[in-house]
């Protein structure tokens, strides 16, 4: 089936240091797009990044990710973590299988904790 895997449940990083959140996927969808959602405490998930182009770097709010279809990955990175980045991060894929409509498949989520 279609799945998204985030291997780290919790990532703790010191403010100002780089951070990387891993995301790999398996899909049978014909056309796909990838997202990183961020969810702050008691709020709804919101889109942080999105991409559907292989090997193209996407950036937003200091975060960046590159879709690599060859390795089925869409890792999220930031060169300098900030305290305000502490949140839950979900990797998700959205695709269309045959004549169906798009549906999101979420990973398990990674909790990022940035400490002083």
């Amino acid at each position: 089936g279609d799945s998204v895997t985030q291997t780290e449940g919790l990532v703790t990083v010191t403010e100002g240091l780089p951070v990387k959140l891993n995301c790999t996927y398996q899909t049978t969808y014909l056309t796909i797009a990838f997202f990183w959602y961020v969810q702050y405490l008691n709020e709804a998930p919101q889109v942080l990044l999105k991409s559907s182009t292989d090997n193209k770097r996407t950036e937003h709010q200091g975060f960046h990710a590159t879709l690599h279809k060859s390795s089925s990955s869409f890792h999220l990175q930031k060169s300098s973590a900030q305290l305000s980045d502490s949140a839950l991060y979900y990797c998700a894929l959205s695709g269309i299988a045959s004549s169906s409509f798009s549906k999101l498949v979420f990973g398990q989520g990674t909790s990022l904790s940035v400490v002083p």
């Binding site: 797009a33 997202f35 709020e43 999105k50 559907s52 979900y90 409509f101 549906k103 989520g109």
Partner: protein, 114 residues
């Protein structure tokens, strides 16, 4: 542009009670999704609609859960006889026509079943 709105924001029930959640999607969005998000887990799709039609409800526990979107706008998700295992946040999302794949989430309803 107003976002996705949901009500109530919180609900506390005893096992066996019924509850309904309401969702008003972003105007013009034809797709609407209901997700269940247990504590410390990612959202899991329950059902989704395009306009008033159910596209996929394979993950909806049909014996106790039901969802409708009669006019292709607002939607209601109902749990007939709640169980403790239903404790979760219920998220509604909507998506625009045209295949952008993106979904916009509401604030959710946090349900606790005692």
């Amino acid at each position: 542009e107003a976002g996705v709105t949901q009500s109530p924001r919180y609900a506390v029930l005893q096992e066996g009670q019924a509850v309904s959640f309401w969702c008003d999607p972003i105007s013009g969005h034809d797709t609407l999704y209901w997700y269940q998000q247990p504590r410390d887990q990612g959202p899991q799709l329950l059902v989704y609609f395009r306009d008033e039609a159910v596209i996929d409800n394979s993950q909806l526990p049909s014996d106790r859960f039901s969802a409708v979107r009669p006019k292709g706008t607002n939607s209601t998700l109902k749990i007939q006889s709640a169980k403790q295992g239903d404790t979760a946040t219920y998220l509604c999302a909507s998506g625009p026509p045209g295949g952008s794949y993106e979904q916009y989430f509401g604030p959710g309803t946090r349900l606790t079943v005692l």
